[in-house]
Symmetry: C2
Subunit: 312 residues, 2 copies
């Protein structure tokens, strides 16, 4: 099958490139750790892209659509932001276009929210949102994209009406590595998404978010006093943070439909956490969502089958 497009998800610390077929299927993939930070500091963005294009033997003139931090100010070319309320179709119109040698490149913009008191930005997740909606998942309601900086987006009629970022993953890393809890948390112990420690902590964080900074200290004190098990400490930290995130994201809309866009371990953790809070979420695979978003963008830019592809 001939490949009509190259799709790239260029994050802060990771790089993923796919050769997509005319139906959006994956024909080849190349991954690396040359995210924005490494790319900017070492060989530069064109060289990183060229290396991965070579790895999948991409034809010379195949067009490339990119989302993520390559479009940040410190990235390859700044792709700006679409402002909320942001129709997801507007992302495609606002992409920046340029040539890299003979190759057409587009970088998708992020989304910015400037409302008073709730400034927020996303870059990369907007493409997952577009992808989830293009596959028919996640209609009106909330879409949760968990991670280092979890995003919760309110969607109505294909438009991101607003969104909130929660520093959940980064906060977990800060406390488990740099705080007094680092003495208690066994970094080797993986959290069991169905385990009692995790689920109880989710419920505590959800019901009593105002006690977070106390509940965190209790992890340490419980270890000192021998009343809690050190192997549960990491799961408790994770659960408290995710439970508080869910309480904050749902706010005064506890009955909103929630779609979870996540993969692997993260999908299992958040699915279990949402269930513990009484929420049944639809689940969309995050990798499939970003590819679907990039594929929808490419079809918009270059039609269902680009000329270059046919000649390739």
């Amino acid at each position: 099958m001939s490949a009509p497009y190259v799709a790239v998800d260029w994050g802060t610390s990771s790089f993923r490139l796919w050769l997509l077929g005319p139906d959006g299927s994956v024909l080849a993939e190349s991954r690396g750790d040359e995210g924005m930070t490494v790319s900017a500091a070492t060989s530069g963005f064109p060289a990183v892209l060229a290396k991965h294009l070579a790895a999948v033997e991409a034809p010379d003139r195949l067009p490339v659509v990119i989302c993520g931090m390559a479009g940040a100010r410190q990235g390859w070319r700044e792709a700006g932001y679409v402002e909320t309320p942001a129709p997801l179709a507007a992302l495609f119109d606002a992409a920046i276009a340029f040539e890299d040698g003979a190759r057409a490149v587009r970088i998708l913009p992020g989304i910015a929210q400037r409302q008073a008191g709730r400034p927020d930005v996303m870059r990369g997740e907007e493409t997952q949102l577009a992808g989830a909606l293009s596959t028919g998942a996640g209609g009106d309601g909330l879409i949760c994209l968990p991670g280092t900086h979890s995003k919760w987006a309110s969607i109505a009629d294909g438009t991101v009406t607003g969104f909130s970022t929660f520093m959940t993953g980064e906060t977990f890393a800060l406390f488990s590595r740099h705080s007094i809890l680092s003495h208690t948390i066994d970094a080797a112990a993986d959290t069991d998404p169905q385990g009692e420690a995790f689920r109880n902590a989710v419920i505590a964080g959800f019901r009593e978010p105002q006690r977070l900074l106390n509940a965190l200290f209790a992890i340490r004190a419980g270890g000192l006093l021998g009343v809690s098990d050190a192997k549960d400490a990491g799961a408790t930290l994770s659960g408290l943070l995710i439970g508080q995130e869910i309480a904050g994201a749902l706010g005064d809309r506890p009955n909103t439909a929630v779609t979870l866009v996540a993969s692997g371990r993260m999908a299992r953790l958040y699915d279990s956490a949402l269930t513990a809070c009484g929420i049944t979420a639809g689940i969309v695979d995050a990798d499939a969502a970003v590819r679907a978003g990039l594929f929808a963008a490419a079809q918009r830019f270059w039609g269902p089958q680009s000329k270059d592809t046919i000649s390739a």
Copy 2:
């Protein structure tokens, strides 16, 4: 005036010694950075004490009363914990006594709470509580001792019925130094306790504690989008954390009497924060409180005027 006692507050990272007169007044003081961690790792506890006793020219046989981390397992001698509900007078009875050369030494115990779901410990703050109560301040109600690990103690009839530690100060340090917010926060800018940024953040943290992890990201996003002032970032972080702490500590008792035991900048920050949340707190100086607690203990151990003093 002859000095009847030596009083020592031996923290994790600080050492403070006072020669106290028969009325509890300070005759001489010696401070250093030889807290528990440094003392254990370098010259050892007896040598650190001897150095500071020499600095104030303390007579050879003057008795010494110590509170704080010198009584921890990793300290000089382990002084254990009194369990909640803990009558403050029980602290004195549970002190450990030993001789350091010809000198009588007592180390006060900490307080532990083993109730299910709320394990907690304090070591050092219990002496401030005893001191605040010995001077007639802080009757029944809540006593707040802000800091790296803020303590909120419920007091009834001279007994600590329960307490909660909030990792507020440590969390401020984690986010301002190690998180993505470190790019936004100007470490040189001191928080103005009466400033709008601080007070607004206190109210936001108090009213919407469930949005903490989102409000923290908004500090970063507001800077990226140019909608908030970088010089306010540290005050906002501080206010959000303290506001959430107050919400968690007051819980379902919003009308409880609150006494703040604090000094200097910390006293001004928490006084302003409590006021912003509609709470008028009595204030007791933290240094005076710990000295009063040590003085009350010394009187209990050795009477109002120790024999050694008289001969000194």
